[in-house]
């Protein structure tokens, strides 16, 4: 489990995160949603330790991550898999080399074992035939899947996704959503997804946290979200005709 206890973060006079407390559970997909500028990216980067928080605690399992020094954090970081918005694949390396990278850096596997593990990860994301291609030669959806394969290469305990469906068509988004859900169950990870894709929210949102003006505004499941009476959340979630009609039909 990952627990956030009263975390706050400011950039000079701009208070971006205000006293946020949340729990992200194991084996479930935990979604952070909110409007652009609400602070959800800062929240995700704070959880990851990219931003240093001003107040509060971030706890991974039993370890207070926010109070660790860099050397101690390295140990936790090896248990984290992160999929960035653009994939963040290394352009000069092949798909196989990208997936093998964390293994070459942090495992004591032989080359053969590393290749076997990388191939397993690529098969898991249905990309076994793309191993020799470069990121520039594959589609955006495939790049996201390679990034997922790289993120799971070291069997992480914690998986983070920043806008996993941005720039993808609806069909590919569903493939990615299902993949995230399946991997969360298979690897029993604490999965945290930063998104404003409402389809993901409805389809895979086990636990949802709505961030509004830097505060935790609402938490609940996707079923609860569809019935919410919260004004700000309703305005955000049901902003489109499609979402309003889904709510009506439910």
């Amino acid at each position: 489990m990952i627990e956030l206890k009263n975390i706050s973060k400011s950039f000079e006079d701009n208070h971006v995160l205000k006293d946020i407390s949340l729990k992200f559970k194991k084996g479930e997909t935990n979604l952070i949603i909110g409007q652009s500028g609400s602070g959800k990216t800062v929240l995700l980067k704070s959880i990851l330790g990219i931003h240093k928080i001003d107040k509060g605690q971030i706890i991974y399992g039993e370890d207070v991550y926010s109070e660790m020094n860099n050397k101690e954090k390295q140990k936790i970081r090896k248990e984290i898999g992160m999929v960035f918005q653009g994939g963040a694949l290394f352009g000069s390396s092949t798909v196989m080399e990208n997936v093998m990278f964390p293994l070459t850096m942090f495992s004591n596997f032989s080359k053969l074992e590393m290749e076997k593990q990388a191939r397993f990860c690529l098969e898991r994301v249905n990309l076994e035939d793309a191993d020799n291609l470069f990121p520039g030669e594959i589609s955006g959806g495939m790049q996201k899947r390679v990034a997922i394969a790289r993120a799971i290469a070291l069997n992480p305990k914690y998986l983070f996704f920043d806008e996993p469906n941005s720039g993808l068509d609806p069909q590919t988004s569903i493939v990615i959503d299902n993949l995230i859900k399946d991997i969360t169950l298979d690897f029993n990870t604490v999965t945290v997804i930063n998104t404003h894709d409402m389809n993901s929210v409805v389809e895979i949102g086990d636990n949802i946290a709505y961030i509004h003006e830097g505060k935790k505004w609402w938490t609940g499941s996707s079923e609860e979200l569809m019935k919410t009476e919260n004004k700000e959340l309703s305005e955000f979630v049901f902003a489109t005709k499609l979402m309003r009609s889904i709510k009506k039909n439910k």
């Binding site: 990219i50 090896k78 992160m82 653009g86 963040a88 850096m105």
Partner: protein, 246 residues
């Protein structure tokens, strides 16, 4: 204040770079890759610049010696000492600031805006050391070799110039090349090239490592990398000359 802020930040950046590699075999692979990119891929440009530089120095010196009492072998000596003392290290350094510096800045800058550096950090990789240390070490190894290569090619360029134009007799030129040779000039030039290599690789990496935004910022970082590297090369050229030759 901004100047001192950047000096402090640069020192901290360098402290993060010079760390024991997390995986030696990956570091060695990266080092050879960078030696190829920074060193071997610069051979042609260094050859072209040096051969023409040597030829022009020779011809200009020859055409400026009109008085009969000045021995003609001074043309060869002048070409040799100009190449050894200044041109092969400083001018080649300035050219490489453009080629290698811009290349490093655009590579790291692009990685930065595409979140690849954050990805490395998130994996627990010391991104500064992983990305920049092989480049700095490759520059330290290859720049002196390129400088020595430039000396040789420059003198050959001078030889070709006198051979093809008959500006002075070839024998006088060759005598001048051998005349009163001071081996320390080579050491001096090699020391300068090592410092220039460190300046170009680290300043270019520093300029691009902390950018945020998009492609425009990568372009700006590349320009700054070349400008600041060039200014520092000129500054340290004076400092090192005073220290080593005084």
């Amino acid at each position: 204040m901004n100047f001192f802020y950047h000096i402090g930040k640069y020192i901290l950046f360098m402290r993060k770079i010079i760390k024991k590699p997390q995986k030696t075999n990956i570091f060695i692979n990266d080092l050879f890759f960078e030696i190829e990119k920074i060193g071997i891929n610069s051979i042609v440009i260094v050859f072209i610049i040096s051969i023409f530089m040597g030829a022009v120095i020779t011809l200009q010196t020859a055409y400026n010696i009109e008085q009969a009492f000045i021995p003609l072998y001074l043309v060869g000596l002048g070409t040799r000492d100009s190449m050894f003392l200044e041109f092969s290290s400083t001018i080649v350094g300035l050219i490489l600031a453009g080629k290698v510096g811009a290349n490093i800045a655009s590579e790291i800058g692009t990685m930065k805006i595409r979140e690849q550096i954050e990805a490395l950090d998130m994996m627990g990789v010391n991104s500064e050391s992983h990305l920049v240390f092989p480049k700095v070490l490759a520059a330290i190894i290859t720049f002196p070799l390129l400088t020595l290569f430039s000396m040789f090619v420059g003198i050959f360029g001078g030889y070709l110039a006198v051979y093809l134009t008959n500006a002075i007799p070839v024998d006088d030129f060759i005598y001048g090349i051998h005349y009163y040779f001071i081996p320390f000039y080579i050491t001096y030039s090699v020391i300068k090239s090592v410092i220039f290599g460190i300046i170009i690789s680290s300043i270019s990496a520093y300029q691009s490592y902390y950018i945020s935004g998009g492609a425009l910022e990568v372009g700006k970082a590349s320009t700054k990398a070349v400008v600041y590297s060039s200014i520092l090369i000129l500054f340290f050229n004076v400092v090192l000359t005073q220290i080593l030759l005084s």
